[in-house]
């Protein structure tokens, strides 16, 4: 404990260096802006920064780039809430309740909650990083293929809580999402699946293309179809930013729980902010007494995923900093940048480059404070976007989505896919298929399938590998319980009332 403290002081001595303070600020500022623009993700932003950081001291370079990364996750909630257009993949779940809140004239409050929850989630994850990062690297390696499969199964049980009206329609949507997730080259055999011999489909369909299509574009289509009948809505009002004492109390639990959950999910390579935020959201929806109001503008539905995705972002630094292994596409870019700057990340980095390790951790505390201070005053300004006349607003959403999607790979084909998924999203809306389970299937499907096949390949086709491994067994038991608990509870209550 004392050792971490003195190391952290050393870290602060680096992070508080005026030039590094400047880099933290620039990093989180740029990150927030990038996060706000739908589609423009942290990966492309970081790629742009590699040439800038090349000549920098490695700790400064990583401080800057890490700032962009967590800044983007922090800022990504803004367009999810205001426009139903997720800024980065990790903030899709925020739109489930954030966008309804904005439509109810509570945009200011939703944005404020997102900012506070992000701040707490980010800070909790830095504390976790500082105190137990080396220990957590053991958690990260304890997850092999069977464990990931079981975790994905547990994640999929959230379909039940994400399908609000019809469970059957929710399941259909989830299966469709899983089907979309397997498009592309199959790693285990090198075979193409559902690519229709198109070069553009070889890498599968990007998550953000689907998310922007079925959320933002479908929303635009719905608004166009319905014409001007939503004049009654208080679209223009931003509402107060202030939270009442009762509201603070209400979100305190969800923020705390989701921060811890998100952090641990983030530690696992391959999981990350998106899965973390979905799990945080569905966990809170199940725990909450007013769970049925989730998806209709519940403040806990904004707080939970925002705390979780920022915590997961911090957690994703564990494999990078303690093992020298990237846990996600974004951390892979960070790793590449470190290599170019002359640091070889590896399990000994904490010893060989303490300046990088502790400097970055300390800079994250500062960065999170900057982010909160940066974001809060801007909320009324940014929320003014809702004041724009509706035709202009719709056009803006379209442009944001298209620029963002095109900016990912500079490929026109992605725009076609955006339109296709916009239309699919519209059809789903018209026929009452919920979009959230589909997105969940899309996120979890590929990793679930890959993990299952890897596990079976390792065990020589023996399915008992999934119950022989204790972590996997426990995750499956929890999944089973979470599926059966509501029905068991109902049965029990029925039996009691029948007896009475």
């Amino acid at each position: 404990m004392f050792e971490s403290f003195s190391s952290l002081m050393y870290g602060f001595s680096i992070a508080l260096d005026p030039i590094n303070l400047f880099y933290v600020f620039i990093g989180v500022f740029a990150g927030t802006i990038i996060g706000m623009l739908p589609g423009l993700g942290p990966i492309s932003a970081l790629a742009l920064m590699i040439p800038i950081t090349f000549s920098m001291d490695p700790s400064s370079g990583l401080i800057l780039m890490a700032g962009v990364y967590y800044g983007a996750i922090f800022g990504g909630s803004t367009s999810s809430i205001l426009l139903n257009a997720p800024g980065v993949a990790g903030t899709v779940a925020t739109s489930f309740d954030g966008y309804p809140m904005a439509r109810q004239g509570k945009a200011g409050k939703a944005l404020a909650i997102a900012a506070y929850a992000s701040f707490v989630g980010g800070t909790i994850s830095v504390i976790g990083l500082m105190l137990i990062a080396p220990l957590l690297s053991k958690v990260a390696v304890s997850f092999g293929p069977p464990e990931y499969f079981a975790l994905m199964i547990l994640g999929l049980t959230a379909v039940v809580s994400l399908s609000d009206k019809s469970l059957v329609k929710g399941l259909i949507a989830a299966v469709f999402g899983m089907m979309v997730s397997i498009v592309g080259i199959d790693l285990q055999t090198g075979t193409e699946r559902y690519t229709f011999n198109s070069l553009n489909m070889l890498d599968g369909i990007d998550f953000l293309v689907v998310a922007l299509g079925v959320f933002a574009l479908a929303e635009v289509f719905v608004m166009l179809l319905r014409g001007d009948d939503n004049k009654g809505e208080k679209r223009k009002a931003i509402g107060s930013l202030k939270l009442s004492g009762a509201e603070v109390k209400e979100i305190a639990g969800p923020v705390g729980r989701s921060s811890v959950l998100g952090f641990f999910i983030g530690v696992l390579p391959g999981a990350g902010a998106t899965i973390g935020s979905f799990l945080g959201y569905s966990m809170e929806k199940r725990i909450a007494k007013d769970g049925d109001t989730f998806g209709k503008g519940n403040i806990k539905g904004v707080a939970a995923p925002e705390a979780a995705n920022n915590a997961a972002c911090g957690g994703s630094f564990v494999p990078l900093l303690t093992l020298g292994v990237p846990g996600s596409g974004t951390t892979a870019v960070l790793l590449g940048a470190l290599l170019v700057m002359g640091v070889t990340p590896g399990p000994m980095m904490m010893e060989t480059r303490p300046d990088v390790f502790w400097g970055v951790i300390a800079s994250m505390y500062i960065g999170n404070v900057f982010l909160l201070a940066l974001n809060l005053p801007f909320i009324p300004l940014i929320a003014k976007i809702l004041d724009a006349p509706r035709p202009l607003l719709l056009a803006m959403i379209l442009i944001f989505c298209m620029v963002g999607v095109y900016g990912m790979n500079f490929n026109i084909f992605d725009l076609v896919m955006l339109l296709v998924f916009g239309l699919i999203g519209l059809v789903m809306r018209l026929y009452g298929f919920p979009a959230a389970p589909m997105i969940l299937g899309l996120i979890l499907g590929a990793l679930m399938e890959e993990s299952m096949r890897r596990a079976l390949q390792i065990s020589g086709g023996d399915w008992s590998i999934f119950i022989d491994k204790p972590i996997s067994l426990w995750l499956l038991v929890i999944a089973l319980l979470s599926l059966t608990a509501p029905s068991l509870k109902k049965l029990y209550q029925k039996a009691r009332t029948a007896r009475a």
Partner: protein
């Protein structure tokens, strides 16, 4: 069966002589042609991978040493394991201001039927470096030598060997080829494909797989904490630096080498003057201290070949990889 001894890399000394010779030849050619606008220097992948590191490191060295009158602008075109970028570059015939980083996938991906364009659709400029394939186990593994591992694989073919790329790509070819050279059936290797070398390392550390195969360069930092042990490296002779203790396949009685080479190509129909200019530029670059420092840090070994040699070499690689893929049953058509 696999061809036994495949091909081996020219020694560093030869490469050095060649590159000096190339520099000598270049002075006349230099006057003929120089780039007149920034060179688009493409990494056919996302930032952070091997191609990207090569592009950025060489571009930075060229800039830092002031070797070219124009900027080499690093551009990432990800997708399809390179095929998206190749399709774009193939459309840009005769462009003298476009280069891209290349390595075995330029041969492997078309062979497995996932790219319409292969190495014949581009102009070889120069081979620059090579890395080697390395097999790792956890420190507490019962396998002390590569032969222990291969013997165990004979007994128990379901022993899992993880690699960081899809079936039929580099890591798979590297380990299956070695197993074939050791007398095993190459197709029987239980290769588990992970999405990246990082995942192989975490699964190896966690004891989820029996062994892992990855690039030697990226493994050296992973070996530092003593949790992992290297069984064999695919170089013709022991490599210097942090991996000097790792025995080669050859010294363990398996006649096998494998190079993860990387080089530079341009569009088809690039002018001969431009090809000469670029091949000499890269030869000069490899002589600079700036380059040597980066190269050593990244665990690369100089393996320069000029355009003509590189072209022949690519044809040899094509033959080799076709036969390995066909042994594995992964050859398209």
């Amino acid at each position: 069966m696999l061809p036994r001894k495949t091909w081996s890399l020219r020694s560093a000394a030869t490469a050095l002589t060649l590159s000096i010779a190339a520099v000598g030849l270049s002075s006349a050619a230099l006057a003929d042609w120089t780039p007149s606008k920034p060179v688009e220097y493409i990494a056919p992948a996302n930032p952070g991978g091997g191609w990207d590191t090569l592009v950025r490191t060489t571009a930075n060295t060229i800039r830092a040493e002031d070797l070219a009158p124009v900027n080499f602008a690093a551009i990432n075109i990800p997708g399809g394991g390179g095929s998206v970028a190749w399709a774009q570059i193939a459309r840009d015939e005769k462009n003298d201001h476009k280069l891209f980083a290349t390595s075995p996938p330029i041969i492997l991906v078309p062979l497995s039927g996932r790219s319409r364009f292969d190495h014949n659709d581009f102009t070889p400029i120069a081979r620059l470096i090579t890395d080697y394939s390395i097999v790792l186990v956890r420190a507490d593994s019962p396998y002390q030598t590569i032969n222990d591992l291969f013997d165990a694989m004979k007994e128990n073919p379901s022993l899992s060997i993880g690699g960081g790329s899809a079936a039929g790509s580099m890591d798979h070819i590297a380990v299956a080829g070695a197993a074939g050279a050791a007398g095993l059936n190459a197709a029987s290797v239980n290769y588990i494909a992970f999405s990246g070398g990082g995942e192989v390392m975490t699964n190896l550390r966690g004891g989820h797989i029996a062994a892992g195969v990855t690039g030697a360069g990226e493994s050296s930092a992973q070996l530092e904490d003593g949790m992992l042990r290297a069984l064999a490296v695919s170089s013709p002779e022991r490599i210097h630096g942090p991996l000097a203790d790792v025995p080669t396949y050859v010294e363990q009685g398996i006649d096998y080498t494998f190079d993860i080479w990387r080089g530079v190509m341009g569009p088809k129909g690039m002018s001969a003057e431009a090809v000469t200019y670029y091949q000499d530029l890269f030869a000069r670059m490899q002589e600079t201290d700036n380059w040597k420092e980066s190269r050593d840090r990244l665990g690369w070994y100089d393996a320069y070949q000029n355009s003509e040699e590189f072209g022949k070499f690519l044809d040899e690689q094509y033959e080799l990889f076709s036969s390995v893929l066909s042994d594995l049953g992964l050859l398209a058509n």
